[in-house]
Assembly symmetry: C2
Homo-oligomer: 158 residues x 2
C-alpha cells in the first residue's frame, strides 16, 4: 500500500550547506504553485504556521532503525521515530515557524529548518489551543540537544 504526494510548493532561502546551520534567524520564502494562491487566504492572520515538507536530500526507504541523536555517542541509542532525524521511514519533515508575510502565493517565514529547494507538502495554521499540549514532558537528552550550536533546527538534517 502506497500513496502519492505532490509538492504544493518549494522553499527558497540561502541555505545550501547541510551542517552547522543556526536556523533560528533564517528567512525563507515558501513559493506555492500559483493556482494555490487562493488556498492561502486567511492564513496571514495566524502568527505561526506548520510546514510539512519532504527531506529531498535523503533516499526514501534508507533509514537506520536506531541511532544516536546528532551522532553523539554520549546520548542514548534511540529508535529513529524517537528522534527528528531526516532519515526515517517516510522522509517527512515538520516545523512550526513564524509567518512574517503572505503575498499571493508566497509566504515569508522565519526559522524554517529546510534547505533551499525543499519540496513543501502541506501548510497548516498553528493554533496553540490544539497544538500546544500543557504539561508536556521530555527526556533528559532533549535538553542537551537544545543546547547544541544548531539547536534552533527542529529536524536533524544529515
Amino acid at each position: 500500500l502506497k500513496f502519492e504526494v505532490e509538492p504544493i510548493g518549494v522553499v527558497r532561502n540561502e541555505v545550501i550547506e547541510p551542517r552547522g546551520q543556526e536556523w533560528g534567524q533564517v528567512i525563507s520564502e515558501i513559493e506555492l504553485k500559483e493556482e494555490l494562491a487562493p488556498a492561502l487566504d486567511g492564513l496571514e492572520e495566524f502568527s505561526h504556521i506548520i510546514v510539512i515538507f519532504w527531506f529531498h536530500r535523503v533516499a526514501p526507504g534508507e533509514f537506520p532503525l536506531k541511532l544516536h541523536p546528532r551522532g553523539r555517542q554520549d546520548l542514548p541509542l534511540l529508535g529513529v521515530l524517537a528522534t527528528r532525524h531526516s532519515r526515517r521511514p517516510n522522509p517527512i519533515g515538520l516545523s512550526i515557524v513564524r509567518l512574517l508575510e503572505r503575498r499571493g502565493n508566497r509566504l515569508r517565514v522565519r526559522g524554517l529548518d529546510a534547505f533551499d529547494g525543499t519540496p513543501v507538502l502541506d501548510i497548516k495554521p498553528y493554533s496553540p489551543s490544539f497544538d500546544a499540549p500543557r504539561e508536556a514532558t521530555v527526556p533528559w537528552w532533549t535538553e542537551i540537544i537544545s543546547r547544541l550550536p544548531y539547536k534552533a533546527g527542529r529536524n536533524e538534517h544529515r
Copy 2:
C-alpha cells in the same frame, strides 16, 4: 514531480462515524509494522507525540480552494490551507497527542482525531522547546471553532 509514501502503521480505535465526534477522550492504538518496533525505542520517555497520518476517506486531488470552517456560513470564507480541513492538496493530517503507553510496536494514545483504519505515515517526538512557539496569535474565528461540540479534534473531518 511526485513522491511515494508508505504507511508505517495503522490507527485502531472505535471511531467509525465521521461526524459529531468528541475526540478528546478517544483512546487509540497505533499499530506499527512489527519490524519497526525498535524504531520506537526511547519514544516512551516523551509524554506527547506528533502523529502524521493519511486522510484515507478523502480522494486525493479533490479539494476546495476555499471553504467556510466546519461548514459554518457565519465564519469567513478561507483558503483551505488556512484550515485543518481533511480535503486539502495532499490529504495529510497532523495531531499532537498524549502517549499513554508503548509496548513493542504499539502505541496507546489519547485524543487522536483519526478514524479506525487510518494509515499512519510518521511519528515524531513532541518537544515544547521546538514545537510550541511563545506568543503565537490566532484570528478570532479559531476561538469560535474551539468552542464547537467536536472541538477537541484538531483536524476537520468530512
